[in-house]
Symmetry: C2
Subunit: 459 residues, 2 copies
């Protein structure tokens, strides 16, 4: 069985692969709310069954503190072959707000050349691309050993993954980790990600009166907690969009002139690109950095949610008893998520007025990571992409956070090759998430080529 036969197998089985992906997407495996616990279990078993169908050995659904990890192993046809550990996650983001979806999030629907569903790109589509590339490559004998580690807690910050990896070092031993949880800059621009931002996630609650008050009777003597929260949030950035938490930038590694130069070469105008992708009237952020630098190489603080008082249709003249904000920071090397939590607490201690009480929950976190682009695996993937798309891949820093990349490095000493076949308008974490099917198909081809090219590069 040759590479060309494996690629032909991919073409011939495209419709079946798509049908299997749709079945996977129909499982609403939302990890952040308890009500989907049964769906999470169903998705884990679905992945395990798929691995068994590939002929994987030692397939296991391993319980953790919350959601299980799925493991499986496929040996190479020849001894001495290198081992690729493929990382993925079967959990998805919550689909809300539901009313903004054109078709239901868990009823996969093809419109044009895109498949719409929660998880289509992030990352059930990528997990399926990996499984099916292995199936195609394995048809006549795998050129590499393959191990799969597919977790169910990525969208809640992977709280149990580091423990699982540490407890199963021998099982997971490999030469490189392939992580397809990143994405592409455009359908004709294959992309390898070499840096990721870290994450620190918080819930801040501000308490005012011990019960909701009539705003006529008490308005003027109590500090409205929604207003107090707004004041605290407003103070978290200065007028130039810089985060004001004390010490926030102390450990931020400065961008070198070389790297700024490299990041300035893109196949598109980034301002036009971001305006089009977001629909905002004007971009925002630190003026001394370019948009690409701001999203990839600078830390941020974002408000992910805000709640207080009466938010239904109509009017209610109430002074709310409390207000809540979900706040997250994207971190860059060498920021530490625990230190950022302390910085936020220090900010609140310094700025929260005596007229309110506050609580801060530290929810999840992981550091940023930067990987070497000169490793055999990255170079093999670059050649595989060039052979598939006809152009060399772009190397980029990505703004998202994939804690497992740092964990693979720290616990197993494994470099990760970061890629993925979703597009910028895939609506990750948003309504109408979608997968561009022609790019998905090319992604599977590139992975098959990678499995063939990597053993030579690693030699």
């Amino acid at each position: 069985m040759s590479l060309s036969q494996a690629l032909q197998y991919l073409q011939e089985n495209h419709d079946r692969f798509l049908a299997e992906l749709e079945a996977f997407l129909r499982i609403p495996s939302v990890s952040t709310t308890e009500k989907h616990a049964a769906d999470i279990a169903r998705a884990a078993n679905w992945v395990a069954d798929s691995l068994r169908a590939l002929g994987a050995q030692n397939v296991a659904v391993v319980p953790t503190g919350q959601h299980p990890v799925v493991y499986g192993f496929l040996p190479a046809a020849e001894a001495e072959a290198p081992t690729v550990l493929i990382y993925g996650h079967y959990d998805v983001q919550p689909p809300e707000p539901l009313d903004l979806w054109e078709t239901p999030p868990f009823e996969p629907t093809v419109r044009g050349d895109r498949l719409y569903a929660r998880g289509a790109t992030d990352m059930k589509g990528q997990v399926m691309a990996s499984l099916k590339a292995v199936e195609a490559a394995a048809h006549g004998g795998l050129p590499v050993n393959i191990k799969f580690i597919i977790e169910g807690e990525e969208e809640i910050g992977s709280p149990d993954l580091a423990g699982f990896i540490a407890e199963h070092k021998d099982l997971l031993a490999a030469d490189v980790c392939l992580n397809p949880d990143s994405g592409m800059l455009g359908p004709d621009w294959p992309t390898i990600t070499y840096a990721l931002r870290g994450l620190a996630y918080f819930e801040l609650r501000v308490f005012g009166p011990d019960h909701d008050l009539h705003s006529g009777i008490y308005g003027g003597v109590v500090h409205n907690p929604a207003q107090a929260l707004a004041e605290l949030i407003a103070g978290m950035h200065d007028e130039n969009g810089r985060v004001t938490l004390p010490g926030f930038y102390d450990k931020v590694r400065p961008l070198s002139a070389d790297e700024r130069e490299a990041l300035s070469h893109l196949p598109f105008d980034p301002t036009t690109f971001y305006l089009k992708q977001t629909g905002v009237p004007k971009l925002w952020g630190e003026p001394e950095y370019t948009p690409v630098e701001r999203t990839g190489a600078r830390p941020t603080l974002e408000i992910n949610g805000l709640y207080s008082g009466f938010i239904e249709k109509g009017a209610k003249t109430v002074i709310p008893s409390y207000a809540m904000a979900k706040i997250s920071c994207r971190l860059v090397p060498d920021q530490d998520p625990d230190e950022v939590a302390e910085q936020l607490k220090a900010y609140l201690k310094a700025h929260a007025p005596a007229t309110i009480r506050w609580e801060l929950d530290v929810m999840a976190g992981g550091p940023a990571s930067v990987t070497d682009i000169h490793t055999p695996a990255v170079q093999a993937l670059a050649r595989a992409m060039e052979a598939t798309w006809g152009s060399k891949p772009f190397y980029r820093r990505e703004g998202g956070s994939i804690p497992v990349v740092g964990q693979m490095q720290q616990i197993l000493g494994l470099d990760s090759v970061l890629t993925g076949f979703g597009l910028p308008d895939a609506n990750l974490h948003a309504p109408n998430e979608n997968l561009h099917l022609p790019t998905w198909q090319k992604g599977m081809e590139a992975l098959v080529r990678f499995f063939y090219l990597y053993p030579q590069a690693a030699r």
Copy 2:
């Protein structure tokens, strides 16, 4: 039939009156959400049936733009008697948040000497006190003509009431309006309210990206609308708690030295009182005014609700596409609600950044009012209260807003006598709203006495 017989009738029928109030409270007549339209209609018909049972004439449930007004007339036993127009409303505030109620809001429950239910004090309890005082006084021949005007839109700002009054001037002609929608300072401190604040209510929506964004991919280039909203809200007060809308204080009538002196005489320490009633760690507001002045005689701007992004349990790393705040201002003489709306728009035009879009809905409004405490009706009620409680009533400015008081003055030329028999800890507009039953009973006695004393005072 004498006054003493009327008072005895009240005592003897207390249990029946309480049972009728409970039946009234079981109707969830929430005016602000469409889902209670049938309950609103049921409450209106319940009031009309009660008026018919009293022997009222010309009882009518009159449709308006939204919720009907109930009217009824009871003639005095003797010609030449003055006419009292009794105002009330049968609608109630929404009961949310439901989980903070000890017993369900629409299942009236007596615990100790209080009756717990949404509307128990605001103001079904007061409407029932008026109906039953009339029933008792009418038993042997009413000393005054009584007209009832009971609306269903008070909790949404009475948008149709001014139109109804203007169209029915002859029907509503009277000598004075009795409005029991205010309250008492404490169970032993009967109170007549002589000033009310006005209201202007808004919904502000801030729009950022045209869909929710992944905070990793886009964090750093778009102005988070939740943050932008927080920045706009934070700027609406200065560090002394003064509202910063341009021109907001221009028309605020200064407090005279006499009035500040009068407002300083209270049967309790206001700081201790407000700390206890609200449970806040420290009072807030303009330092150059006392708490009583701030709640009664100074305008405010409050955040009544706040929403953006992901607010369920757990974490979601999203940049929300929009953020919303419900904002209301309590107004004092001579502020104009339309002008305040223009001031808020001017503030937003001056301060909203070019990185977001915004919309402002102007929802409801009414001016503040001050009434003369030397009218025959106020003096008759003062004597009635002194006879009932054994002490003279307190005169106070109240922070709440009752637009009908201004409308009665402007359209019918009628002064209002403002009172009510709810206590400060009645939890108006909040969970566990309640009515202190001994005070309610005394309130009915005071009203019966008022019906007997007013004709003499008015002569």
